[in-house]
């Protein structure tokens, strides 16, 4: 290639990664000597990671990249060999063809039997050879699997994990068709009420301790343990104690089998029917990445989606369960003008004409920090045309050390960066109230907030000439609207939020809006176009890119570049 690359002003070169040469299934490969552990600390690369780098997979249960290594399930056994050393010269012994002689690891008392090592906890060394596909490795896996299934109830047809169960998957790949175990199975507790959100089936548990390690080392609540001995080993909380922290449901995701199940989700839906959509949690300012599981326009669960810049692989229980309201039967579904059913065309034209005839300074806007950045941008553009005061409503709660933010709005940074409220949210509400009282403010646009709770009471709102309200669920403010525009839950539209740390992240549409409801950005764009303030786009991509060109903090960001994990902007 003759491409001349202009040398970029050399950024501080990252320290060279030390590599080790090994062989995986006969293929030469170089892998880094060290890799980050669950806490990000560099530790020697393991056989399991090396096989992954080589493009293979080592079946495993107890190993999880985000948890301390336990090495207890033995599923990851892999046959291996190391270069033979001459004890006298300390030099590698060579074959006739000059290649190093490899000593396959065998049982010391039975040298004809290969001895595997648990790949999840065994570091690689130079010249090592790994045989993840060898017959011996396969045999070890089969044996481990057989022993794990000894006491398993084999009740997959009624198990919630079916379809996403590692035990099922590995049994198909590495298992035997028939059990050789004729002794009676050990029976253990079924349907144990472990805590307010979790049910445990101890017979399905393979004792990998992922749940124990998660709650102790990640959630900081040392609540679970293994009680009893030998084949009676049972996962449990201390008697009389509940497994009840704000992160318990992550253990359901982590459990490789169907032992831990979510009370909210169990028996509701077979997982293979679920459509999965990449989205965000919007219950606080952290903006955990999630996957929405829906079927036939009904949401069945939220699950965390890995993003190391935001939420690792976790999410809090409160955020995870905050989806039911989307299906509420009292959702706003009709466009109303003075209480009478209308159409979007009429309502948008009405809003535009009222705004056009409104004198400068007579308009105010209360937006919500639960709206998307694009919607806030459009509202800001509309407000700017009228010299309108804009503000939003802060929402605060207690934060924690893991994920939950004190800021319970998902997009406070969006509110700030688009200029709806440059500084503290809510401080201009008294000014708006005063303006209405004094008759200066005659038109108010309220999006997604019940302003009667924040100092703009019904009496005050009654003095307005025009009250345009958009919301999702009915409240005291929507009841007073002159023009009511039904909006969407975030899972019903696309858009972006900017989290407390300035991570700009996009979310996709999982389900259709109810009734006549439409994504707010769509009708805001129509209003803005009618007012001549924002045009030249017809899609959310176009809108985002246009906004990025105007909002200084978003300079250079593009919708397409956001990817699944977002980008961080200075805030």
């Amino acid at each position: 290639m003759s491409n001349v690359v202009t040398p970029a002003p050399a950024p501080a070169a990252p320290p060279p990664v030390e590599k080790i040469r090994i062989k995986v299934d006969g293929r030469d490969i170089e892998v880094p000597k060290m890799l980050p552990d669950w806490q990000g600390k560099p530790v020697p690369t393991t056989m399991l990671q090396a096989v992954q780098i080589a493009g293979g997979e080592v079946p495993h249960y107890c190993y999880h990249p985000k948890l301390p290594v336990a090495g207890n399930c033995r599923m990851c056994l892999v046959e291996f060999g190391t270069p033979m050393m001459d004890p006298a010269t300390r030099k590698p012994v060579l074959n006739e063809d000059g290649t190093p002689k490899i000593l396959r690891s065998v049982l010391p008392y039975e040298p004809q039997t290969p001895r595997g090592a648990i790949a999840c906890a065994t570091p690689i060394s130079p010249g090592m050879e790994l045989y993840p596909s060898s017959p011996a490795t396969r045999q070890m896996r089969e044996a481990v699997l057989e022993s794990l299934l000894i006491n398993h109830p084999l009740d997959c047809p009624i198990c919630d994990q079916a379809g996403e169960c590692k035990l099922q998957e590995y049994s198909v790949e590495h298992g035997q068709a028939a059990s050789r175990f004729v002794e009676p199975k050990v029976h253990k507790p079924k349907a144990v009420d472990l805590g307010p959100r979790i049910i445990l089936d101890d017979e399905r548990c393979i004792l990998c301790t992922r749940c124990i390690r998660f709650t102790k080392d990640i959630a900081g609540d040392d609540a679970l343990g293994i009680v009893n001995r030998g084949s009676y080993n049972t996962i449990a909380a201390a008697p009389g104690r509940q497994f009840d922290n704000n992160y318990t449901l992550n253990t359901v995701d982590l459990c490789p089998v169907g032992a831990l199940t979510s009370k909210d989700f169990r028996f509701k839906m077979r997982v293979w029917f679920l459509k999965e959509t990449k989205s965000l949690c919007n219950s606080c300012g952290t903006g955990c990445n999630i996957q929405v599981g829906s079927r036939e326009n009904v949401i069945h669960r939220f699950e965390p989606r890995e993003n190391d810049a935001v939420n690792s692989s976790w999410m809090c229980d409160a955020g995870r369960l905050n989806y039911q309201w989307v299906g509420r039967s009292d959702r706003l579904q009709e466009v109303l003008i003075r209480g009478a059913r209308s159409t979007w065309t009429t309502a948008v034209a009405e809003v535009v004409s009222r705004l056009i005839s409104a004198p400068k300074g007579s308009v105010a806007v209360v937006a919500s920090a639960r709206q998307t950045t694009e919607e806030l941008y459009l509202l800001r553009a509309i407000a700017a045309r009228h010299g309108a005061i804009t503000d939003s409503i802060p929402r605060e709660g207690e934060g924690d050390r893991l994920l939950v933010s004190e800021d319970r709005n998902p997009n406070s940074q969006g509110v700030r960066l688009t200029g709806i409220a440059y500084t503290e949210m809510g401080i201009r509400l008294p000014e708006i109230a005063e303006g209405i009282r004094a008759g200066r403010i005659r038109t108010l646009l309220v999006f997604g907030e019940d302003v009667t709770q924040y100092g703009l009471d019904a009496e005050l709102l009654g003095q307005l000439e025009t009250l345009v309200v958009s919301d999702i669920l009915p409240n005291a403010t929507t009841a007073l609207a002159h023009i009511l525009l039904p909006g969407c839950a975030h899972v019903e539209k696309r858009g972006t939020y900017i989290n407390v740390k300035g991570r700009v992240q996009r979310f996709m549409k999982a389900v259709e809006p109810r009734g006549d409801a439409r994504p707010e950005w769509e009708f805001l764009a129509e209003i803005a176009r009618g007012l001549g303030v924002a045009s030249g786009f017809s899609t959310i991509e176009g809108l985002f890119n246009r906004m990025a060109g105007e909002v200084p903090a978003l300079a250079g960001v593009e919708w397409a570049k956001l990817g699944d994990g977002g980008v961080t902007v200075p805030v």
Partner: protein, 162 residues
């Protein structure tokens, strides 16, 4: 019944815990001492130990359920441990247990220690009592009965009933 550890015992245990670089290491010693004092380890004893050693109750509960020598229920006045490991098994310890269980009206199919309703006797099959040369052996409270016979067992029962 409220749970209270006598001050003297508590002082003794505090002192003991101070010898370990990690307080947690004193868990077993605590449990032994509490069992000796109370006869068994109640949930309160578990909680008390956890709180004393800066642990969570589950950490202590794991130990209590792991070791067969720890009891979560009060046992009978006379505790009879019949060895079931190889030498004693060959020398007829199963018959001794069956005899005791039968005489006391207990359930031969049940695992673990069993106590008579009147709280007089507890019978239990245990692993090797380290006296294999004099099999079969039975321990009655702190006494070891070597080369134990059915008649010896009957004597134990008669004595315990007094």
């Amino acid at each position: 019944m409220s749970f209270s550890v006598p001050q003297a015992l508590e002082n003794e245990l505090d002192e003991l815990a101070s010898h370990y670089p990690q307080k947690r290491s004193a868990s077993l010693m605590f449990l032994h001492a509490l069992q000796e004092h109370f006869g068994h380890l109640s949930q309160e004893a578990v909680d008390w130990t956890a709180q004393k050693l800066g642990l969570q109750p589950i950490n202590v509960y794991e130990l209590v359920t792991f070791y067969p020598m720890f009891r979560q229920e009060p046992l009978g006045k006379t505790q009879i441990k019949v060895c079931r490991t190889l030498s004693c098994a060959l020398a007829g310890s199963a018959e001794l247990r069956a005899h005791l269980i039968g005489k006391l009206g207990l359930d031969s199919h049940r695992h673990g220690p069993q106590t008579t309703v009147d709280g007089q006797f507890t019978v239990e099959f245990v692993e090797c009592l380290a006296s294999c040369g004099t099999a079969p052996v039975v321990m009655v409270n702190e006494d070891l009965l070597e080369k134990c016979s059915v008649a010896d067992c009957d004597r134990v029962l008669a004595k315990g009933r007094k």
